[in-house]
């Protein structure tokens, strides 16, 4: 065995990769070759030094540091989902979003759009750094309404139009459903700005992330992450959810339609005229709820699309949760 072969054996020995036979052969050579013996000593010592390199740890929790960004990512997903939902609705003739004669309809639609644009802008900036390939279809706000429903997102979403205190809404650390839903708040101001000046998307984007937008009426667009656990398990204590968005209502709870597409795209739930209506893919009405006294505080689909749940906030602040099974057209109060 020559020195070069032994060199490889010595290297593998450091990694525990030698058989007993190979190891014996190497030892035999090393006993007779001072040079290889010295080399082996240095290699062992180097290996020991490498093994004792400091096991550094991050100076702060990295996960804590990125949590806001992760929330942002979820919002972006939600915006993409909203895009798809809005487009689907716009694409079906006679859809309630276009025909329901609510006085705030137009404004609401614009504000939904501005939310999408704002989220898209934020998303664009954000993903320019992190993952540019995900975002292409939600970024262009002026296409938002035209975007084909196939833009891909089948994630459930949940929107609400309410005056919200953003610090409440964005604090996701409680065990209530706040934790499962990620909120994007668009200030009323930015909605107004969108109406008068469609070019101000950048500004809307700024205020969408503005954490101190606490006062006044705002549109809150909520969307859960890919799995809508909140809808299944999170709504345990309706009373605790009061601050989740409807606190500080300044107007009668008159809303334009809000809608949510089921995860598999089979159904769309629309809250309009104080009722929840479930349409199927072909635009047929599958279920229509009774008129509800109050505003809608939250809504969303179960992960498998089998149930749609929504929460009605009555004027006296009490909450009511209903579950609709679109397959058999039944609704139960929870």
């Amino acid at each position: 065995m020559n020195c070069q072969e032994v060199m490889e054996y010595m290297q593998r020995e450091l990694d525990g990769d030698l058989t007993e036979f190979e190891s014996a052969k190497a030892r035999e050579h090393i006993r007779q070759c001072a040079e290889c013996a010295a080399m082996f000593e240095r290699l062992k010592r180097l290996s020991a030094e490498l093994e004792s390199l400091p096991k550094v740890t991050p100076p702060i929790s990295l996960v804590d540091a990125i949590l806001p960004k992760l929330d942002e990512i979820d919002r972006v997903k939600a915006a993409a989902s909203a895009d798809a939902g809005a487009a689907e609705l716009a694409g079906s003739a006679g859809s309630p979003a276009r025909t329901a004669p609510r006085r705030r309809n137009n404004r609401f639609s614009l504000r939904i759009l501005s939310g999408v644009v704002a989220a898209g802008v934020v998303a664009g900036i954000f993903f320019a750094t992190y993952d540019p390939d995900r975002l292409s279809d939600s970024f262009s706000g002026d296409r938002a309404a035209k975007e084909s429903a196939s833009s891909g997102s089948s994630e459930p979403m949940l929107m609400m139009d309410a005056a919200a205190d953003s610090t409440d809404a964005q604090d996701g650390s409680d065990v209530s459903m706040k934790e499962s839903f990620h909120l994007t708040e668009v200030r009323d101001q930015s909605g107004q700005a969108m109406e008068s000046s469609p070019g101000s998307a950048g500004r809307s984007g700024d205020s969408a992330t503005d954490a101190d937008a606490g006062s006044g009426e705002g549109d809150v667009r909520m969307a859960p992450p890919a799995v809508l656990q909140g809808v299944n398990v999170g709504i345990e204590s309706p009373e605790d959810d009061v601050q989740m968005g409807v606190a500080g209502f300044t107007e009668e709870p008159a809303f334009g339609p809000v809608e949510s597409v089921s995860p598999d795209g089979s159904y769309i739930a629309v809250f309009s005229e104080s009722r929840v209506i479930i349409y199927d893919r072909d635009g047929n009405t599958r279920f229509e709820s009774e008129e509800r006294q109050g505003s809608i505080a939250a809504m969303g689909w179960s992960e498998d699309g089998a149930f749609f749940r929504y929460e009605i906030r009555r004027e006296d602040g009490a909450g009511e949760i209903y579950r609709i099974n679109p397959a058999d057209g039944t609704e139960t109060k929870e």
Partner: protein, 182 residues
């Protein structure tokens, strides 16, 4: 070792599980980044970016791969692609190992390291050699795990590791010669 059930839950969209998972791996991610990029600030940036990428890509993780090698692949790719430094590295290939040559050209090149810390020497290895050393010694990976993480053939992994150690031992030899250390 991360619980397989936790990984599964995270993959299936359980956000809480995913966050818990990220917390469990953040030190490993940071440690690799730290030794690859060579300073705390860049390591923080790279590790955070890796964690975000894991967060968004968890759905694409396939269980046939080891989770830890999948994670290390992400962080090493980020470090190598985005935090490629302009620091000069010693090209190992230019200095083929001359085992018996005590005063060969490599000796001159390495003499520059004589007074420096072993960590700085690692820092000046070519990126993939450095990555192999970091995965072997900071993550305790086997040859195969390193190969999976870096997408390199097994023989290349061994060759990089052996050459890197060969190069680094010169440092120790020079220390001993110059009496800088023990």
């Amino acid at each position: 070792m991360v619980e397989p059930s936790l990984i599964r839950a995270a993959r299936e969209g359980d956000r809480e599980a995913l966050i818990t998972l990220l917390r469990e791996i953040e030190t490993h991610v940071y440690r690799t980044a730290y030794y690859l990029v060579g300073n705390e600030q860049d390591a923080m940036d790279a590790a955070q970016e890796a964690l975000i990428r894991i967060y968004t890509k968890i759905g694409s993780y396939e269980e046939k791969a080891q989770f830890k090698t999948w994670v290390q692949r992400i962080v090493t790719n980020i470090c190598i692609d985005k935090f490629r430094r302009n620091k000069p590295t010693v090209s190992i290939e230019e200095h083929e190992m001359v085992f018996e040559g005590r005063d060969s050209v490599e000796g001159e090149v390495m003499a520059a390291y004589a007074a420096k810390d072993i960590r700085e020497a690692i820092d000046r290895l070519p990126e993939h050699h450095r990555a192999v050393v970091v995965l072997r010694y900071l993550q305790d990976f086997s040859y195969n795990e390193i190969a999976d993480s870096l997408d390199l053939p097994l023989n290349t992994v061994k060759s990089y590791l052996f050459r890197a150690r060969q190069q680094l031992q010169v440092l120790l030899r020079d220390y001993q010669k110059g009496g800088v250390r023990g």
